[in-house]
């Protein structure tokens, strides 16, 4: 007999429930749940549990939960030498199932109220939809805690000591060194994140910097990527040793590219790198001389409001 969870049964909520807010059981449970039909033998159930490293399995009749077999039930059958009995002879009939639409706090209460280590979860048609264990709840709590901490950090972003936000750094990049292309941008991203800069702003800096980095390794004979960061703005400069761009206006047109097949096979060279840097920057300057090299300066303001959401 399946005894569905009732709201009234789980009124006293333990600590930690405020963390999980509006999460529903369906968002946290394991969906790919193993279940066995009524005519399964205890021996077969034991084998399934062993193979899948689980300690209990629901018994279903046309997807409706009719019982649950645990390690205890199997040990009892083993002691009596009746391993070939159907699971229905040994399983627990009084199954406390939870509904998938219930708030997660109900599942937490259920674990405090009952001695069970797992609860089957059913849908509106009373069919087995998943299973929930302590592990599912722990993972949900960790993620939620981390999300709430992130939100708190975002709220405090502008109260962070901006005077400590100062960095001048240069990175040398070699032609075709795709292995290292991106390291500088990742470092700068980490630095800005550590100083509580809003994530949308960091994304703009990271994109401008990464596109410049990829340009240096993919198109130039090698060069330097420089960062000058203070509380007001991030200045990124790229200088290379050549070969220079023949027509800068053309290079700034979306879709124009001189990339070879190899660069394209690496996912770059679509001709949208330079326009993308311009898109995310508040100031963008490019100077190039054929045979000498290219200089690009991209500025992203920190002090003003993030106006480049699009």
């Amino acid at each position: 007999m399946t005894n569905m969870g009732q709201k009234g049964s789980f009124q006293s909520l333990p600590q930690g429930c405020e963390l999980i807010g509006d999460l529903k059981i369906s968002e946290v449970m394991t969906r790919n749940v193993l279940a066995v039909p009524r005519n399964t033998t205890i021996r077969e159930a034991q084998s399934i549990m062993k193979e899948n490293s689980i300690t209990g399995v629901p018994v279903v009749d046309s997807r409706v939960v009719v019982g649950i077999v645990s390690m205890n039930d199997i040990m009892n059958a083993l002691e009596s030498g009746r391993m070939d009995d159907p699971v229905t002879d040994w399983m627990t009939f009084e199954v406390q199932a939870l509904a998938e639409e219930m708030p997660l706090s109900f599942a937490i209460s259920a674990f405090s109220k009952y001695p069970f280590r797992r609860f089957p979860v059913v849908n509106k048609r009373n069919e087995l939809a998943g299973i929930i264990t302590f592990r599912n709840i722990n993972l949900a709590l960790i993620r939620e805690l981390s999300r709430q901490l992130q939100e708190k950090n975002n709220l405090n972003e502008h109260s962070v000591d901006m005077s400590s936000l100062e960095l001048v750094k240069e990175y040398l990049l070699s032609r075709y060194d795709f292995e290292n292309g991106g390291k500088a941008s990742s470092e700068i991203k980490k630095f800005l994140k550590g100083h509580g800069i809003p994530s949308r702003l960091i994304r703009r800096v990271a994109i401008a910097s990464y596109e410049l980095e990829i340009n240096l390794v993919a198109h130039s004979d090698g060069g330097m990527l420089g960062f000058d960061i203070n509380a007001d703005r991030v200045v990124i400069t790229s200088h290379d040793h050549g070969p220079g761009i023949a027509d800068v206006d053309q290079a700034l047109t979306e879709g124009f590219s001189t990339a070879n097949e190899w660069i394209r096979s690496l996912g770059f060279g679509a001709g949208i790198g330079l326009p993308n840097i311009k898109r995310v920057s508040d100031e963008f300057i490019i100077q190039s001389t054929l045979g000498l090299g290219t200089m690009i300066r991209a500025v992203i303001n920190i002090h003003t409001k993030d106006q480049h959401n699009n």
């Binding site: 968002e27 946290v28 394991t30 969906r31 790919n32 599912n136 993972l139 949900a140 960790i142 993620r143 939620e144 981390s146 999300r147 795709f178 292995e179 292309g181 991106g182 941008s185 990742s186 991203k189 994530s199 960091i202 994304r203 990271a206 994109i207 990464y210 596109e211 990829i214 690496l266 996912g267 770059f268 060279g269 679509a270 001709g271 949208i272 790198g273 993308n276 898109r279 959401n309 699009n310």
Partner: protein, 112 residues
């Protein structure tokens, strides 16, 4: 949608999963083999779907603040990609399906 649901629907092999990856919230899917396209996107909480199995796929995922990337076409990932995914705290999944079928499956679960 929680990442665990996506992992189940795509029968993924998990090359790397950061702490509590199951609960990562995905709001949009972006599929491309061109990293330049990914860098042009402006969506939040993206799942990146690509058949490009390179370290730059992981880097590009990180640059757009995305927390998860799916490599399609039954492609293997390199040790370097796994190390980078770990460093950037990005969930790295591999699926046996081609990109098209991966997207169709994702479309189906997003409707429900």
């Amino acid at each position: 949608m929680k990442l665990i649901r996506i992992a189940e629907a795509l029968e993924t092999r998990i090359a790397y999963g950061p702490a509590a990856w199951e609960q990562i919230n995905i709001k949009s899917i972006f599929s491309s083999d061109l990293m330049s396209d990914i860098l042009m996107s402006d969506l939040d909480n993206m799942l990146i779907v690509t058949s490009l199995s390179t370290e730059q796929s992981i880097r590009s995922t990180g640059m757009v603040n995305s927390e998860a990337v799916v490599i399609t076409n039954n492609k293997a990932v390199t040790d370097g990609m796994v190390v980078l995914a770990e460093e950037l705290e990005i969930a790295l999944f591999c699926v046996k399906f081609p990109t098209y079928e991966t997207c169709v499956r994702l479309g189906r679960i997003m409707k429900t």
